[in-house]
């Protein structure tokens, strides 16, 4: 049991479409589900985990429907985004309860706690845990039965860099063992460090799918827009437009600035200061005007 299939899955809440006709397969290895906040990542993960029915389409795990089928949880482990988790229990009691619900016992619970390095705090009440500690105990609860599929919703939220690295190592190991690991994130760098394969979701739509490097290149090679102010805007504009890395320049009189569109990101960033120095022009402002993640994603959708 290792491959999740989504076939033409849509989900709407009232008249709001959260997920719009998405088809994808998630197989062994680590897959990153990338998208800005509110893109529908949690909705997708909830459907993959059997906690939300698709409005149309099907979600199956190796051919078996996930919705209304508690038997799939023998193979699936879930790390939800929400914080609430029986705070009146200690970490050990919580993980032990999760093991028992799988028909397992203390041995498995202890092993899971050791995997996430939480043994040192296992006898403290969960209500006293930091966000990162909660995240690790959640992780332990999802690992007790050694699932072949692990779904994690924003697992790195609230973790410090050390914990983040440790969890990344753990997920990488699980992926290498042939398990299907899917995690969602709205942070590009997180996904870049961990997942070779990514699925990008923007505004409920499946924007891109595949090898991270390919998608990253799409992202960096897209037209970049800059707002530049200098001691001599027109001279700078004339010098820049001669280079193929620049495709358009507008002299914005009201702003007293240049609006520049560049296609070759690497070349342009190297060109701009060189040209300025050669012409004795002082650069006063250089600011990218569309660097938000949302604009990166919307470019991907159009691509």
């Amino acid at each position: 049991m290792t491959t999740l299939h989504l076939d033409n899955v849509s989900r709407w809440f009232g008249n709001v479409v959260a997920v719009n006709d998405i088809s994808m397969s998630v197989g062994p290895g680590v897959t990153g589900l990338l998208g800005p906040n509110g893109a529908g990542k949690s909705t997708l993960i909830n459907m993959m985990g059997g906690f939300l029915a698709p409005s149309t389409g099907t979600v199956t795990l190796d051919g078996t429907a996930v919705w209304r089928n508690e038997a799939v949880y023998r193979h699936i482990g879930i790390v939800p985004e929400r914080e609430a988790m029986y705070d009146f229990l200690t970490g050990r009691e919580f993980v032990r309860a999760n093991a028992e619900l799988h028909g397992l016992g203390d041995t498995e619970a202890q092993r899971a706690l050791a995997t996430v390095e939480m043994e040192y705090a296992q006898d403290r009440k969960i209500s006293t845990y930091s966000k990162g500690m909660r995240q690790r105990v959640k992780m332990a609860s999802a690992l007790v039965h050694e699932p072949s599929v692990l779904l994690l919703d924003e697992p790195f939220n609230g973790m410090d860099p050390r914990q983040r690295m440790q969890l990344m190592d753990l997920l990488r190991t699980m992926g290498d063992e042939g398990r299907t690991v899917l995690f969602s994130s709205h942070i590009l760098e997180e996904v870049e460090q961990l997942a070779a394969h990514i699925e990008v979701v923007v505004a409920g739509r499946h924007a891109a799918s595949g090898d991270f490097r390919k998608i990253r290149r799409l992202m960096t090679d897209r037209p970049h827009r800059y707002l530049v102010r200098s001691s001599d805007d027109r001279a700078l504009a004339a010098a820049l437009i001669a280079d193929p890395s620049t495709t358009g320049i507008e002299v914005d009189l009201k702003e007293g600035a240049l609006r520049i569109q560049a296609v070759d990101f690497g070349r342009f960033t190297e060109l701009l200061p060189r040209v300025a120095r050669a012409h004795g022009i002082r650069l006063l402002t250089v600011s990218p005007s569309d660097e938000s993640l949302e604009s990166v994603f919307s470019y991907l959708v159009a691509a």
Partner: protein, 243 residues
């Protein structure tokens, strides 16, 4: 398919959740209030069957039992669904009927402990079980506990406003409308339970508005149907994310 009706881990999580939350204070306060009231009444007026009837019927069965039923029934599942921690319970290969029936058993256990048992003690304190009133009202409290637990557990499964809905049913429907409209009495857990008390106590000591056969039928059918439907709903429970 056959299911285990009891899962010890589900039960442990449920009763620790029930007794560990702040609203559990009411579980202790109400019976304590009843017992203090009984001691005071007994000291002031001596043993009196009419007084016992008023206290046991008017406060214990009419008010305390449904309130504790609301807390135990909705509290056995509602808070977990509200805060999302139910995900940990449901992302397990445990049949949903097992989860619901276990939670029902815990709710019944808590209700009986905190309402039927104190009612029995109150009866003995008030008139030493004269006319078998203590036993009759305690039995009524026990059967009502079962019905309330099942109905309020269902409410806790299907709505986030289960406590309000439960209180409206217990206080407005049963107490207020039940006193004004005779039809409301037929659909009242309290009246079904009183029918059981009527049969148990000495002749004419307790009066109920519903016949015993109908009462017993409803006391069996309503909790069974509520539990069946709650399990069905739990199977298709939607856990909304942060988005």
């Amino acid at each position: 398919m056959s299911y285990a009706i009891y899962h010890p881990t589900v039960a442990r999580l449920t009763y620790r959740g029930l007794l560990g939350r702040r609203r559990a204070a009411i579980l202790f306060a109400l019976p304590a209030l009843l017992l203090v009231l009984c001691v005071a009444v007994r000291m002031l007026t001596g043993a009196d069957d009419d007084t016992a009837r008023t206290v046991l019927g008017g406060f214990a069965v009419a008010t305390m039992v449904p309130l504790i039923g609301v807390i135990a029934g909705t509290g056995a599942i509602g808070p977990e669904i509200d805060d999302g921690s139910v995900v940990y319970l449901l992302s397990k290969p445990v049949p949903r009927p097992t989860v619901i029936v276990t939670k029902l058993l815990v709710a019944i256990g808590v209700s009986v402990t905190f309402s039927a048992l104190p009612t029995l003690m109150a009866g003995f304190l008030l008139n030493g079980n004269s006319q078998n009133l203590a036993v009759a009202y305690a039995l009524a409290a026990a059967v009502a506990s079962v019905a309330y637990s099942a109905v309020f557990l269902l409410l806790g499964t299907v709505t986030r406003h289960a406590v309000i809905a439960g209180l409206v049913y217990a206080l407005v429907w049963e107490s207020l409308l039940g006193g004004l409209i005779s039809g409301a009495r037929t659909l009242s857990v309290k009246e079904w339970a009183l029918a059981v008390a009527e049969r148990t106590a000495a002749d004419g000591a307790v009066s109920a508005q519903v016949g015993l056969p109908l009462a017993v039928t409803l006391l069996v059918v309503v909790p069974a149907a509520a539990t069946w439907y709650a399990a069905r709903r739990l199977r298709a429970l939607t856990v909304a994310g942060e988005e």
